[in-house]
Symmetry: C2
Subunit: 369 residues, 2 copies
């Protein structure tokens, strides 16, 4: 086998592929990557059994072949700092290593039995829908951060995908806060819903503006979902278990309606959170009064921090406390100049939304302070 390709193409491919390389592999081969050179293309595969990824990049193939490099991490490390813009790969038939050359640099990486590598499965025909890459990326960015980090209840470490007619909604929650976002699909599809591990979704759609207007094909079977776009194919197992009826968490009506400058709000939270950061619940208090919000935190041993910001407030004035992280997190994904906050009372969940956009809702449950 002998082929060469561009370092930049390899680097971009490895950035996504490394997500499916096992860090603590059940069997050594799962820490490796599979390479196949054939017909002017290099195919790279990684598979940790939770996520499997296939990426194809252009290659100049002198003689075709396939190989499994035993450490995907080392492969990535070396490719990243190759001195030249093209990289050449070769191995000897029946050998147990792959030689990688670029400029004056040369690396020989150990290889494993190709037959031991669990090839990534291509989709069974099942429920399929399409969505613009840019729009799927947006939905993921605005929701997946809200999923649970701890594994105690697996379903909350995932994001619910829900197709209803011509609409895709994604929902993620850790039970204390919930993010919901939806987009119109290009056509009507049969209703389907499934839960994808948040980990598989993070970084799935990279910021490649030139390809943002391409479509992603999403294909969902009983146990797997696959995403196909550009030169990439990602296969992820689904999380079993029942996602709770999220619409019950979203308040039907609210009595206090607030609009605040998003950037100023974020700055104020970051400031006050410096005082709450060692607190178990990271508690920050909001007092909605007159035409502003007084945001404060108190750490008995250190002191207290206060920040007042202007706000348009309609309805009942009230005070309420939140985990500072839950507010800072949503302010990172709100894209509008202003943020809308709607509340009932100090014990009830509040919503954080973008004025004029009904397709995004974030709900935060208050801390009882």
């Amino acid at each position: 086998m002998k082929f060469s390709c561009y370092k930049d193409d390899l680097n971009e491919a490895m950035q996504l592929l490394i997500k499916a390389v096992a860090v603590k592999p059940m069997t050594p081969v799962l820490a490796g990557i599979y390479l196949k050179a054939e017909n002017s293309a290099l195919e790279l595969q990684a598979n940790n059994f939770s996520t499997g990824i296939i990426i194809r990049i252009p290659a100049s193939v002198e003689s075709s072949g396939e190989v499994v490099v035993n450490s995907g991490k080392r492969f990535q490390d070396f490719v990243r700092i190759m001195p030249d813009e093209t990289v050449t790969f070769s191995n000897e038939e029946g050998g147990n290593s792959l030689v990688i050359k670029s400029g004056g640099a040369s690396v020989e990486l150990m290889t494993m039995e190709v037959s031991d590598f669990p090839k990534v499965k291509t989709p069974e025909t099942a429920r399929t829908f399409k969505i613009l890459k840019r729009e799927l990326g947006d939905l993921i960015r605005k929701t997946v951060f809200a999923a649970a980090k701890d594994e105690s209840r697996p379903v909350f470490t995932g994001a619910l995908f829900e197709v209803k007619g011509d609409k895709l909604s994604i929902v993620a929650t850790n039970t204390h806060r919930l993010a919901f976002a939806s987009k119109k699909l290009p056509e009507n599809y049969t209703d389907v819903s499934f839960v994808v591990p948040a980990e598989a979704l993070r970084g799935l759609i990279t910021n490649n503006p030139s390809a943002a207007e391409n479509y992603v094909t999403v294909n969902c079977s009983l146990r797997y979902v696959t995403f196909t776009f550009d030169n990439v194919f990602v296969n992820s197992r689904l999380i079993e278990g029942l996602f709770p009826p999220y619409d019950k968490v979203i308040p039907e009506s609210t009595v206090t309606h607030v609009r605040v400058d998003t950037a100023e709000f974020k700055q104020a939270i970051d400031f006050v959170a410096l005082m709450s950061k060692d607190d178990e619940y990271n508690t920050v208090k909001f007092v909605f009064e007159g035409d502003g919000i007084a945001i404060s935190a108190n750490a008995s041993e250190f002191g207290n921090a206060d920040r007042k910001i202007a706000a348009e407030i309609e309805g009942e004035r009230l005070s309420i406390s939140f985990n500072a992280d839950y507010i800072a997190d949503v302010l990172r994904v709100i894209d509008t100049k202003q943020t809308k906050i709607d509340l009932n009372d100090k014990f009830s969940p509040a919503t954080f939304t973008e004025p004029g956009n009904d397709d995004f809702i974030y709900v935060a449950t208050p801390v009882r302070a």
Copy 2:
């Protein structure tokens, strides 16, 4: 007490001052900082008994006073993100807090008894010499990195200062590698030598080009050394114990003389070190042959990496192995386009120097590979 000052002045002062704020204080007051407002100046002090620092910055003082804030870290955190460019401080006489305001932000930080704070001692009259701030900064940068990180032999966690006539040398070693640098002083001084904790020296001279041509006054007594420059006074305890005769470590003569491009050499080491990084001794092999160096590393389970670079070589060709970090470290402080390497044989220390500069020598002991 009430005064105000510029946020930027405070931030710059805190960057140095925080080095002397205790992280795990023996008594709580050592995690705090002392502030005194008087005569158009704010004096800040921190003291962890190993290092004590005093910094003065301009202030507009409405009523003078002194206070000890109980967390230097929180003070720094809050000052850093104050919304306005000026910051106002006030406290009530007999109160136990300091109120800090800037723009719409307000912080109240708990304070402690001023009498409990161990004020930083100003120097006893002792041996004194002066050196340009820029030159002391250079000496520190080119040597202190070579000191030991582990505390098993305290003297090696420090840097030896040695004044002989009109010359200051600084030397640091962890016994496997040694860095030596010296500069001419503006006049002759009585000989003196002492060992300063590397920790106190790191970041001591910040990159403030406008003040680089100012002098630093170094004052050394039996147990302490003090550095006075600009608006800063730093007092550090000395390390007791005998620094070994470092000149015995520097080879008197060498048989192989090499010159190599510094940037290319650094790139090659970084590349090959990706393969050696999990090795206990981080071993990288150098083969000096013909008109180049073949640099390589080998990790039995992963493979091997090679990089060839051009070099001018005079004398015996040889092969020798080093800890990759020890070479990468020195290449970060070599300021010349080329690096000079002088060697005897694979078992003897080699020197790394700057062509045309006799005031810097780095010695690395080979790994027996």
